[in-house]
């Protein structure tokens, strides 16, 4: 089976930390920053577990602010 690997880039200044991407991710890749905040004071999302990402773009679809860009490669 071809292995698929994805990567997520979060525009952290645009992110409002709503957590919808964290819940939508089927492989628990994303999390909100526990301590750090962006310029507007939101705990932005980041890839906590980057190896598990499959590039399904669920996080990008549910993001209301369009902060998420998803990349995917077949290995």
């Amino acid at each position: 089976m071809a292995k698929i690997k994805g990567a997520v880039v979060v525009n952290k200044e645009r992110c409002k930390g709503c957590e919808l991407c964290v819940v939508a991710c089927p492989s628990q890749v994303l999390a909100l920053q526990p301590t750090e905040v962006n310029d507007r004071g939101y705990h932005y999302a980041f890839m906590q577990n980057p190896d598990a990402c499959i590039g399904c773009a669920s996080c990008g679809l549910v993001c209301p602010d369009g902060c998420i860009t998803v990349y995917k490669v077949k290995l």
Binding site: G6, C18, V23, A24, V62, P64, D65, G66, L75
Partner: protein, 253 residues
């Protein structure tokens, strides 16, 4: 494989739609408006009708929609978006005209304009965001507020004896002859978002084809008004809103 090797333009699978600009949106974190804005921008881009599209923005939270999607917009008076859209579409029959309205705008002050525009069968698409509350003004009761739902003007829950029943606009306009497509969708999961996008696309195609009025009702959340986290309000919507506002196509001719 290193992350930086994956992050290349040729591996891109999803990004912010081209027509959505970089202005930071004023919506609260987790607001459904953002998702619907994205879908509209994607659909317009995919259909290649960027130059043909005229949107009519409402009064309500989406009043600044024209700041976020790079197409032509008109700002309507409260509730009068379908009336403005009627004029725009009649004067520019080749344009794709859509309105974007919330439930305070469409279901309360604009009920007459909406029903009559639908009844005349104006070739416009109406995107109706139903979150059961007046979000912009501070969470007051709307006609679509659920029975027993607490808002700032009915703090003990909506009492049917005093405030009447929740108004189901989609069922109402489904009965009039001018509508060609009436559907109710939601944007709480990736699957629902894909379905909603298809519905918006069909509505826009109907507007271009001159088949009649299309209405896409999007059952959405207002986490600030509902006083819940975005994730909780999605769950609450699934448990409570969908019972009164079931998803699916009501009419497609």
């Amino acid at each position: 494989m290193d992350i930086n090797e994956i992050i290349k333009p040729e591996n891109l699978v999803y990004t912010k739609p081209r027509l959505m600009n970089d202005n930071p949106m004023h919506y609260c974190p987790g607001c459904s408006h953002g998702v619907v804005h994205k879908l509209i921008a994607e659909v317009i881009d995919e259909m290649g009708i960027e130059e043909e599209t005229i949107g009519v923005a409402p009064v309500g939270c989406a009043v600044f929609a024209y700041n976020y999607i790079d197409v032509d917009w008109i700002e309507a008076a409260h509730g009068r978006a379908p009336a403005i859209a009627t004029a725009v579409k009649r004067l520019n029959p080749k344009k794709m005209v859509f309105t974007y309205q919330g439930d305070g705008d469409l279901a309360a002050i604009g009920t007459a304009e909406t029903i009559h525009a639908c009844n005349r069968g104006e070739n416009i698409a109406i995107i109706f965001i139903n979150n059961g509350i007046y979000g912009m003004t501070g969470g007051q009761m709307a006609p679509t507020t659920l029975e027993g739902m607490k808002t700032s003007t009915c703090p003990y829950g909506r009492n049917v004896a005093l405030n009447g029943y929740p108004l189901r606009i989609a069922e109402l306009v489904e009965r009039v002859d001018g509508t060609c497509y009436v559907t109710r969708q939601s944007v709480h999961t990736p699957a629902a978002i894909r379905k909603a996008k298809k519905a918006i696309r069909l509505a826009f195609e109907n507007s271009m084809a001159g088949k009649g009025t299309s209405m896409v009702e999007i059952v959405s959340t207002c986490n600030s008004g509902w006083k819940m986290s975005p994730v909780k309000s999605n769950q609450w919507m699934e448990e409570h809103m969908f019972a009164k506002y079931p998803l699916g196509d009501l009419k497609n001719v």
